[in-house]
């Protein structure tokens, strides 16, 4: 594939689209319509609609992938897999049939969704409590100075949230509030600021065609050359 098709055209599209969206967000570009919106608003709205259409197509691609992958397992009778694959395909067909014939907002479809997926989803979410307990058990062990600090801080916060201990030792409330309100919040904000700057930097690299990770790995020549590494 030529560099033009592989890099130049995709990067140009990314640049134009990103500039349009940014212009619309930061600047009211004339001409302005009667509603006070700039011409970029309409363009951005159209781009968003295109995104929705593309996503819908991709969903079809995903469904084909699911059918292909699981049909293969069923035909091969893959141990520990093929029965689940049959069940998955049956569920997909049932949901699709009811969705198509009664509509995705119908009572029947809502009932099916709430009675099956919603309940299962809540169950999986609840199981998180067990995973957190087992993770905590491994984390709160004294191995070195760092894990020791982690252990002490973890125990203070844990004890602060246990109602009986918090009543008998009110100082835990003060310590806990300091840990979560000052130490944790400042660290979280540091990560947030770093993350935001990182995202801006990645955006600039992507727009200028230097970050081509989403286009696949490129040679120095394909990337534009000029490097010393």
């Amino acid at each position: 594939m030529s560099t033009t098709l592989k890099k130049t055209i995709p990067v140009a599209i990314v640049f134009v689209v990103a500039m349009l969206v940014m212009l619309d967000y930061f600047i009211v570009t004339p001409p302005v319509d009667v509603a006070g919106k700039s011409w970029t608003s309409g363009a951005v709205k159209d781009l968003q609609n295109w995104g929705i259409v593309l996503t819908a197509f991709a969903l079809g691609f995903g469904a084909v992938n699911l059918f292909y992958f699981h049909s293969k397992h069923i035909s091969r009778r893959t141990p520990d897999q093929w029965m689940f694959s049959i069940w998955l395909l049956i569920v997909i067909v049932i949901f699709t049939a009811i969705g198509v014939f009664t509509g995705p907002t119908s009572d029947q479809y809502n009932w099916l969704y709430n009675a099956s997926y919603f309940a299962l989803s809540a169950t999986v979410y609840s199981s998180l409590g067990f995973y957190m307990t087992s993770g905590l058990y491994r984390a709160l062990r004294f191995k070195n100075v760092e894990s020791g600090i982690f252990l002490v801080v973890g125990l203070v916060v844990l004890a602060r949230n246990a109602p009986a201990l918090a009543v008998y030792f009110p100082v835990l409330g003060t310590w806990g509030s300091f840990i979560s309100g000052v130490l944790t919040t400042s660290a979280q904000r540091g990560i947030m600021i770093g993350g935001a700057l990182g995202a801006i930097s990645l955006g600039i690299r992507t727009m200028t065609g230097r970050e081509t990770g989403f286009l696949g790995k490129m040679t120095e020549e394909e990337r534009g050359g000029g490097g010393t590494a």
Partner: protein
């Protein structure tokens, strides 16, 4: 402020052409060949996922950062002859991921070994259905290594614990502050916040990409100075920095 950061980044991209700026070591990314090598020795696959990201929301940069690492890991896997499984949450990512992985296999001269329908798996667009499916892959196929880079939510703990239980070596990275502690206590290697955005530049060793990281660090220094000035000014009863930033 944003314009200033842009100037820093673009300026450093130009100056970095002459010399590759020094990088702090990112142990997690350096460990990728070791992780894939372990999978080769154990004759087990490598599992990769980018979490609940989509290409249009506010977490899209995290997903793009994850895809850059996916391309790199796919190439290592192709070279080592290890199967890599990419679990997909958003169907719109599938064509991009398929193309990335196919290209990595072509670059390694093993295009015939890449099986898109088996290696790029669309699981579900629903959070916990996707989470259960990834846990199912972990239990059934027992990957020797698990790499998770992107935006993760409640499923982070489910993934990290399940893969830990089956003995996978794990690298996790996210810019979502609430999930970082979960990954930190369980995973073997961790990329915190901005480190995932630097992954592409770090792995490519491209001077201009590295320059943007240095520009980003200058931006961070400016933010740090503003924070200190803001604290001092507020303590002295002035709101000059707060007014300047329009807060």
């Amino acid at each position: 402020m944003l314009i200033l950061i842009w100037i820093f980044i673009l300026g450093n991209m130009e100056t970095a052409k002459k010399q590759l700026p020094p990088f702090r070591k990112l142990t997690g990314l350096d460990a990728l060949p070791e992780m894939v090598g372990r999978a080769a020795e154990m004759n087990r696959p490598v599992h990769f996922t980018t979490g609940l990201g989509d290409l249009t929301g506010s977490v899209a940069p995290q997903l793009v950062a994850g895809l850059a690492v996916l391309a790199h890991v796919s190439e290592i896997c192709a070279n080592y002859g290890v199967k890599i499984i990419y679990s997909v949450y958003q169907a719109q990512v599938m064509p991009i991921a398929t193309e990335l992985m196919k290209e990595a296999y072509v670059k390694a001269g093993k295009s015939e070994e890449f099986q898109a329908e088996d290696q790029v798996r669309y699981l579900s667009g629903e959070q916990f259905a996707y989470a259960s499916a990834v846990q199912g892959i972990a239990e059934r196929e027992r990957p020797a290594a698990n790499i998770m880079i992107g935006p993760f939510y409640a499923e982070s703990m489910l993934f990290a614990e399940t893969f830990n239980r089956i003995g996978s070596i794990q690298l996790a990275g996210t810019a979502r502050g609430y999930q970082i502690p979960f990954f930190a206590v369980i995973c073997d290697y961790l990329l915190i916040g901005e480190e995932i955005y630097a992954a592409g530049a770090y792995l490519s060793k491209d001077p201009q990409q590295a320059g943007t990281i240095r520009g980003q660090d200058y931006g961070k220094a400016v933010v740090l100075i503003l924070i200190i000035l803001g604290v001092l000014a507020t303590a002295a009863g002035s709101s000059i920095i707060v007014d300047l930033l329009g807060m």
